[in-house]
């Protein structure tokens, strides 16, 4: 059923699907000592179901703040944030976040962490167990269900963080520099895992990263933000076939183009 949405090759497969995330003229201002700091103003963009969107830009351009507003942790000062047509009022399981830092519950095992959000959904215990097992399998942690977060590596903890939100089937998956604190090799593994999960689950993803190569190698579309005040400087489709190699000439050209835009502002 999901398969017929997928297009083979380099074309963004979500071209015709409905807008699941829709931001119109969103602004955020923080009060600081002696005045105001405008994190960003007038942001307008949208993401379609199944689209993999990356947001990149220098630190301080407001990309993390943007994610927190979509998640509902912060309130926008102006503009509209719609999820499947209804306005965001606060945090909710339809928009789940994978944080940069470790945010697992250290007193719960891997399994219990993944099951945490399922308990209020009126599922029977057996169903919960099955779903948890299935998603642990998906992120490659099936044998580690009974470990505590403190007993596994940082990369594995981020896999758990992925599993515990994917199990809730959010409309939009938000990822806030999720692999920034991992070593190069683990990072590569996690990027591959993210792409394969995205394909398998037809998951809409908004991925914030300051790493231009990461953005290009993962996403269907890259939003380039510039600071301060933050604004969207460019919206670049990435029409490259997957799996993508970070050394392929096309990707390197794209990276150079984005770096150029970030440097000159043109």
């Amino acid at each position: 059923m999901k398969a017929n949405l997928k297009l083979i090759g380099g074309l963004p497969r979500a071209e015709k699907s409905p807008k699941v995330l829709d931001l119109t003229a969103v602004s955020k201002v923080f009060p600081i000592s002696g005045g105001f700091f405008t994190a960003f103003e007038n942001l307008t963009f949208s993401a379609r179901t199944g689209e993999f969107l990356a947001v990149t830009g220098p630190s301080g351009c407001g990309k993390s703040t943007l994610l927190k507003i979509i998640a509902g942790f912060l309130k926008a000062d102006a503009g509209k944030v719609l999820i499947s047509g209804s306005p965001v009022k606060g945090p909710g399981a339809d928009r789940c976040m994978v944080f940069q830092e470790d945010a697992l519950f250290p007193w719960l095992t891997v399994e219990e962490n993944v099951a945490f959000g399922l308990f209020r959904r009126g599922l029977v215990k057996k169903k919960i167990k099955e779903r948890v097992a299935h998603f642990l399998e998906l992120v490659g942690l099936a044998p580690f269900g009974r470990y505590l977060p403190g007993e596994i590596s940082g990369g594995m903890r981020q896999r758990v963080a992925l599993a515990r939100v994917l199990v809730l089937e959010p409309l939009v998956l938000l990822m806030d520099e999720p692999f920034a604190s991992l070593d190069m090799q683990t990072r590569q593994e996690m990027q591959d895992l993210t792409v394969s999960l995205w394909k398998e689950l037809d998951q809409t993803i908004v991925f914030v990263t300051h790493d231009v190569v990461e953005a290009c190698s993962l996403a269907d579309r890259v939003l380039i933000m510039k600071g301060a005040p933050g604004r969207i400087q460019d919206d670049i489709p990435v029409n490259l076939p997957r799996p993508r190699s970070v050394d392929s000439p096309a990707l390197l050209r794209l990276k150079a183009k984005i770096r150029q835009k970030l440097a000159t502002g043109l």
């Binding site: 519950f105 250290p106 596994i152």
Partner: protein, 271 residues
């Protein structure tokens, strides 16, 4: 890959289990030495043998044999009732108030000054007032114990609740948990380390104030025995009382931490 903590070989482990007994043993040997060398008169400094005999008689003796024979069980039960009565009262008030003022700044502003001013008053100052209010006996003791145990429980619960990583609460909110579950499923478990510290400090101080409350002339209890023995000049009995309070205090601390560990995952699996 998972990280396993290297456990020491069995022989070493056995030796480690005996380690806590080393210091008491040294103290007892020094005690023997002081007595055999006659460094202090016997009526001020009874030897281990005499204290041992008095202790045995206090615990296992026939009640008709002497003033302290076989009284231990009754005294211990009376004292334990007062300690845990006062302690549970302190937990029931201190824990929720502490968590509240750790999370809600209005609650902190409302209660912080008042409670910290009260905390500056030495617990012993309340003794005269408690005697007037509650008379000599159990009520006064429980009042003093509860009052003294309240402060460490309140302060540590507040610190624990305040220092909870906000990311954990955000993670809960995004997974759609409600307020109640956020408190009992995230906030309290995440603050568990501080909460247990507060409870242990509170229970420790509860024993101290138990003796204070019982020194006022009640009939039963370990503190009462100590005070009674002083008036009869039974130094050996005072020492027995001190040792028994030390043992029971330590045992109740183990019981508390063990109980918390068996009841709560977050106490069992402290990071």
């Amino acid at each position: 890959m998972p990280v396993f903590s290297q456990s020491p070989p069995n022989a070493k482990k056995g030796a480690r289990l005996l380690l806590p007994l080393a210091l008491p043993l040294i103290v007892i040997i020094a005690w023997f030495a002081v007595c055999t060398l006659n460094l202090a008169p016997e009526y001020l400094f009874p030897g281990p043998a005499q204290v041992g005999a008095t202790g045995y008689n206090y615990i296992f003796g026939d009640p008709v044999q002497g003033p302290y024979s076989g009284r231990f069980l009754e005294d211990a039960i009376t004292s334990l009732g007062r300690v845990f009565g006062g302690f549970l009262l302190a937990v029931a008030v201190g824990l929720p108030l502490g968590v509240l003022s750790g999370r809600i700044s209005i609650a902190q502003e409302l209660m912080g000054t008042f409670i910290n001013a009260l905390r500056a008053v030495p617990g012993i100052c309340w003794l005269p007032l408690a005697l007037v209010w509650f008379g000599i006996g159990t009520k006064t003791t429980i009042f003093l114990v509860a009052l003294a145990a309240f402060f460490p429980i309140y302060i540590n619960s507040a610190a624990g609740a305040r220092q909870v990583n906000p990311l954990l609460l955000q993670a809960g909110a995004m997974m759609g948990v409600n307020r109640l579950r956020a408190v009992f499923g995230i906030l309290l478990p995440a603050a568990m380390g501080h909460i247990v510290s507060g409870l242990r400090l509170g229970l420790g101080i509860a024993w101290a104030y138990l003796v204070l409350g019982e020194l006022t002339g009640v009939q039963r209890g370990l503190g009462a025995v100590i005070m009674d023995a002083r008036m009869l000049g039974r130094i050996d009995m005072i020492v027995v009382g001190i040792i028994l309070i030390a043992i029971m205090g330590r045992a109740s601390d183990r019981f508390l931490t063990g109980g918390m560990r068996s009841l709560f995952k977050s106490a069992r699996r402290a990071p």
